[in-house]
Subunit: 149 residues, 3 copies
Amino acid sequence: MSADIVLLATVSFISACQQAYFAKLVGKYRMKHKVNPPAVTGPPEFERAFRAQQNCVEFSAIFLVDLWAAGWFFNQGLAAVFGLVYIYGRHLYFHGYVESAKGRLPGFSLCKLSLVCLLVMASAGLSNSLLDKYCDINLISRLQRLIFG
Amino acid sequence: MSADIVLLATVSFISACQQAYFAKLVGKYRMKHKVNPPAVTGPPEFERAFRAQQNCVEFSAIFLVDLWAAGWFFNQGLAAVFGLVYIYGRHLYFHGYVESAKGRLPGFSLCKLSLVCLLVMASAGLSNSLLDKYCDINLISRLQRLIFG
Amino acid sequence: MSADIVLLATVSFISACQQAYFAKLVGKYRMKHKVNPPAVTGPPEFERAFRAQQNCVEFSAIFLVDLWAAGWFFNQGLAAVFGLVYIYGRHLYFHGYVESAKGRLPGFSLCKLSLVCLLVMASAGLSNSLLDKYCDINLISRLQRLIFG
């Protein structure tokens, strides 16, 4: 556990900026295709852009919780790296999805992969903290003793 | 106020996993009913599953803020318990909603109840902290003196 | 950086309550116009209210991350003030949008303005912390020395 959170905060902030940027792009596609609010249906290109943004929103809470749990309870640097991979995956996802429905898949796979890595790190870190606090078992230090003698 | 946040982090993490699971289920209903992205309309079962997931997303920021405010400023253990009740409520809600529109109601009532409890705890804790900081009045310690003499 | 977070938590909590209130209002418009779940299309007034709530949800993660990054790494009081401006902007936005699609614009501009202010504060604070940590350069204290001698 560490009081130092500047890397996690920076990655979260970059992700927030990316989401604001996606919202802006959807607004541009609205104007391009003359889809007046509150409508969310229209030409396929607009619907794909809108759906891409919605999917990012659906996963934003999942991403932030996984990122912070992994970074706080496991390793901040590693969590930040996977966070950046996730953000890059979202970039590929959004722009691929706007091109075609199939185009979303490479980016989505990258996002899923980085989320799974964060999830594994978060599970390990949280389990270790819970065992340490409530059962007085510190797995990570036992492992280190086992490996490094 | 406490630096120890492992219970709140664990409950948030379980909730994030649940949301990822719901997203996966919606993907399965997409394939079952052959609803190709970016479409979000289709057979009633798919639309109910999709709407159930969307409702969970709409409340995820509300839930996380209430959970952490209640746990940080009032009582972590109690907040974690109501957080778990909320997650169980969401489980009932999602699977009930997929069955029928009426089926969402029992789970939703449980979610609302636990959110109200978290909200009351958060209000009490935040009011106490604000009064303590800016007016030098610590209601909780006064109450304790009143009750325990 | 400060361990004291009561203002940021209070603003986040007010924003969560506002979102819960918007969700409740959309439920009322559902009943008024007899739009049965899971449908999300219906009379224009309902669709505008629903879309207004959705837009608030889309921005909630962006808002919370910007608010906390600005408050933690730059200045808590200032971030809280802009957070309250954002919440007031969302109030104008929602009720304006329910009236007419054009009615959303004044509130939305106010939200955008306060988000940009939070974003600038967050960027400045995070850059300063990163430079301080990894390059041993503390811009803010240099600036203060430059100004105050």
